[in-house]
């Protein structure tokens, strides 16, 4: 059994230690915010926070997560009470197909936790590992800037 702390709750899991965190989140814990995109750490759709930093959960085996704090999209807010970054993405309607957006939100969350007022260049650089194929980039940029302005 492996014990993980996800969104503040301790979860006991019976899984191979090399299992990617993403599979455990989606298949065992029904936390479907993080998405499977490429499975190779190349697209960012699976981004979650580990100890406040964004990581690609598809290439993060659960054996590396003992005693560490995992936060998923579901840990930032609820549909009734979305978190600050989630509200900003809704306000800017920063989604087209939406598949990359959970990863974008987590990546933005990680940025704002360490750099509350990032420049446009800092946002671009930080988000560069997350791909959007619909071309929603300008709205995503606006959403991150909005989140940085809001309390």
């Amino acid at each position: 059994m492996i014990s993980l702390e996800v969104n503040g709750k301790t979860q006991e899991l019976d899984a191979d230690p090399a299992t990617p965190l993403l599979y455990v989140l989606r298949d065992h814990l029904q936390l479907n915010g993080a998405k499977f995109g490429c499975g190779l750490g190349q697209c960012g759709a699976c981004s979650v926070l580990v100890d406040g930093r964004a990581v690609f959960s598809c290439v993060t085996p659960i054996s590396t997560l003992a005693g560490r704090r995992i936060t998923t999209l579901e840990g930032l807010g609820t549909p009734e009470k979305p978190g600050r970054v989630q509200r900003a993405f809704i306000a800017e309607q920063a989604a087209q197909c939406g598949y990359c957006i959970p990863g974008m939100i987590m990546q933005a969350q990680a940025l704002l936790e360490r750099t509350p007022h990032p420049t446009s260049a800092e946002i671009r650089k930080h988000m560069s590992g997350n791909l959007c194929r619909c071309g929603t980039h300008m709205r995503i940029m606006r959403a991150v800037e909005r989140a940085a302005r809001e309390p």
Binding site: R53, V55, V59, P61, S63, T64, G129
Partner: protein, 419 residues
């Protein structure tokens, strides 16, 4: 004798420091240069990798400002656009040639050998003429040079006269009549404009090349530049064709993906004349010499291991399986969308853990807005303990060599740089 004592003694006896200024002269008009000469200069500048040190990240080309970390402190690439006040707009071709050949600026001050005049001294008049035509016709950018931040006593420019007296040899390239034209062209480019030895030849405490150990492996901005001679750590010996492909595209499927300071080099060489890059490859293949029977046997073993995938158990193996294997393992081939099988890579076999740790933590990313190979960095997902377990496993499983002893030190250094 301690190096600083040597400096003190030689400095005391050396009075011939610096040179006379070259009179300022306005940059010649574009129309005064043959367009073919300018384009030849552009290709030479690509081989010289000039842009890499003289352009800040996201900055204007050749306007300087890029930080270059060295054991002596941080250098900042200078503005070499033809801006008259902040660039080299008042440099005549004579002053430009003297800087390349003798390491002296227009005003007559010694230049730090971070500017690789040790190599450029071998350039022909024609090549310098073409480079001047290219640089003189770039767009002038007004950008003040940022002063270097060097540790004492290296911040004393006057000591450079001594350094040069001790280590700098002015010279021209002398072709070897026993070799063919391609080898000689390669030798000229590798040892001159390409300044490959700057990163691939070891240096002493004062930053001078160890001239008796050419191409036996050096250091560049915290990365190890692997040996290019017979001591090459490449699991599979390089052929000229593979070297050409790598230098041109940054990728060879049984050797390497260009990373770190080699990335801008291959990006530039992609724009150089094909026959020049082929000549460099031919020279480098000859430099390493034909592989021994033992090396060929080890190469076969590495190729077989790359196809078979990994099997070992343990903490490091578990991390490898969940973190690296999806791209690097199970018989994937580097050219087909997968990543390089680690049994074939040099980062695993070199004497230091620096390259493997840098790639693991920082990943590989093309410059912003440019296409290229990409690997995510794991600095935020792996703890120091996990990185050490992983590195130990990769070194023994794929490097097939004794454990590194510098992992703690290198890891600390990279983590500090990232703060």
């Amino acid at each position: 004798m301690r190096p600083l004592a040597v400096i003190a003694i030689v400095a005391a006896v050396c009075t011939a420091c610096g040179s006379d200024p070259v009179a300022p002269s306005a940059t010649p008009a574009r129309a005064s240069f043959d367009p073919a000469l300018i384009s030849n200069g552009a290709q030479l500048a690509a081989i010289g990798n000039c842009q890499s040190c003289h352009t800040a990240e996201g900055g204007r080309s050749f306007a300087g400002g890029r930080a270059i970390e060295t054991p002596f402190g941080t250098f900042y690439g200078t503005n070499i656009t033809p801006d008259p006040d902040t660039g080299i707009g008042r440099w005549s071709e004579e002053a430009f040639a003297r800087a390349l050949r003798e390491g002296v600026d227009r005003e007559g001050r010694h230049l730090y050998p971070a500017f690789p005049y040790e190599y450029y001294t071998r350039l022909t008049d024609e090549d310098i003429h073409a480079l001047y035509a290219y640089i003189a016709t770039r767009e002038p950018v007004r950008a003040e040079n940022r002063p270097h931040e060097l540790r004492a006593p290296f911040n004393m420019r006057s000591l450079l006269g001594t350094w040069k007296a001790l280590y700098f040899e002015r010279g021209t390239f002398r072709p070897d009549p026993a070799r063919d034209a391609q080898w000689n062209r390669g030798a000229y480019l590798v040892n001159g404009l390409g300044h490959c030895g700057a990163c691939h030849t070891p240096r002493g405490a004062l930053g001078a090349e160890k001239k008796d150990q050419p191409f036996s492996g050096g250091v560049a901005e915290g990365w190890h530049g692997p040996a290019l001679n017979a001591g090459s750590p490449a699991p599979v010996p390089w052929t000229a064709e593979q070297l050409f492909k790598y230098l041109r595209t940054g990728l060879d499927d049984v050797h390497a993906i260009a990373a770190g300071p080699m990335d801008p080099v291959v990006r530039n060489l992609a724009r150089a004349p094909e026959e020049d890059v082929r000549a460099m490859a031919a020279y480098l293949e000859a430099l390493a010499g034909p592989p021994s029977a033992e090396r060929r046997k080890n190469a076969d073993a590495a190729l077989a291991q790359a196809k078979a995938g990994s099997r070992a158990n343990g903490r490091g193996a578990e991390i490898y399986a969940g973190t690296c294997a999806a791209c690097h393992d199970r018989g994937r081939e580097a050219g087909s969308g997968g990543a390089l099988p680690l049994a074939l890579g040099t980062a695993m076999t070199i004497p230091t853990s620096s390259n493997l740790l840098r790639i693991t933590l920082e990943g590989i990313a093309p410059p912003e807005g440019e296409p290229g190979r990409s690997m995510p960095g794991f600095a935020d997902s792996l703890t120091d303990g996990q990185v050490k377990d992983l590195a130990a496993y990769i070194r023994s499983e794929f490097g097939r060599a004794a454990a590194w002893t510098d992992v703690d030190e290198e890891l600390k250094k990279i983590r500090e740089e990232r703060r």
